[in-house]
Symmetry: C2
């Protein structure tokens, strides 16, 4: 892995753990094993590097979701597979956590990939919900599903246990059942 790559990967890790406000160029350089000059050679600054990191994380999230949602089974089964997929629950969602970061939301370049990720996810889930007609509003149901996932991370982090996350997922799946 070359220096540029190590800088992006280190930034991804730190953005996930500490957010944009809590991550300094110095920490990124230390984790990447790169010097100050090296970072500023490859990127114009913290923001451009964060953009590269967020873009990659958003792309991965989308690919992971699509893998479950385009798999085999009925719409409901694929949603269950998506929700029950193995996740790093206590670390939270690497994209969702950025919505709480004021400096990310204030910078159009950083905000855009976050906005697009959730917009895509809600739309994609609504399509899957619409496949099985249960008399549900696809957009509202899709929003509730994504929200349960994002909120589940909040509950798990608050409790420092994965149990509330799992309860939330099983709770919404029970509600979706037989509909």
């Amino acid at each position: 892995m070359d220096t540029r790559e190590r800088l992006i990967e280190s930034t991804r890790t730190l953005l996930w753990e500490r957010g944009y406000v809590g991550t300094s160029p110095k920490t990124i350089q230390q984790l990447a094993g790169a010097g100050q000059g090296s970072m500023y050679h490859h990127f114009s600054g913290k923001e451009e590097l964060a953009r590269a990191a967020i873009d990659r994380t958003a792309e991965e999230l989308r690919a992971a979701a699509e893998a479950q949602l385009s798999g085999p089974g009925t719409g409901r089964e694929r949603i269950a597979a998506y929700l029950r997929r193995e996740r790093d629950v206590l670390r939270g969602c690497p994209v969702g956590r950025l919505t709480q970061d004021p400096d990310v939301m204030a910078a159009p370049a950083l905000r855009a990939p976050v906005e697009e990720t959730f917009s895509w996810l809600r739309t994609r889930l609504a399509e899957v919900v619409a496949e099985d007609d249960g008399g549900l509003d696809p957009a509202a149901t899709a929003a509730a599903i994504v929200a349960t996932l994002q909120g589940g991370y909040v509950l798990a982090r608050a409790a420092d246990r994965t149990e509330p996350f799992e309860q939330a997922i099983e709770g919404i799946l029970a509600l979706l059942k037989t509909r």
Copy 2:
């Protein structure tokens, strides 16, 4: 409002907007119209001040929830009243956002009120869910309800619109209906 009070209120505002990591004593002092010495006279430092602010915010959240949950109507009606209550959606949840703050979660004194708030909320909602027997697991359903709320804020902030929040709320309420 005396200086001590203004410091706490300013801290509450800033913790909500920018989180703990993103809030400096200097900013707090400026918003409160207080000097450096004043802050350090009333509080030992940033952490103690944050604890006072978080305690108050947590107490308010709990009182606001209890007002809806102990109101009139069936369990389901009170849950709907709670979820549909007017909220500052784009600002997000002042307690939930703290779960994303690494320095809050690392400090036991700051973490405790956050943990207790969500623990209480899940328990209280489970009691209300259990009132109307619909064959649902109260703990799982309660977790799903709180998660939808918390995740709804994430979706609204990502979109910079309140609509996805409202869709998530109506989505879960539709799923809860007739159960």
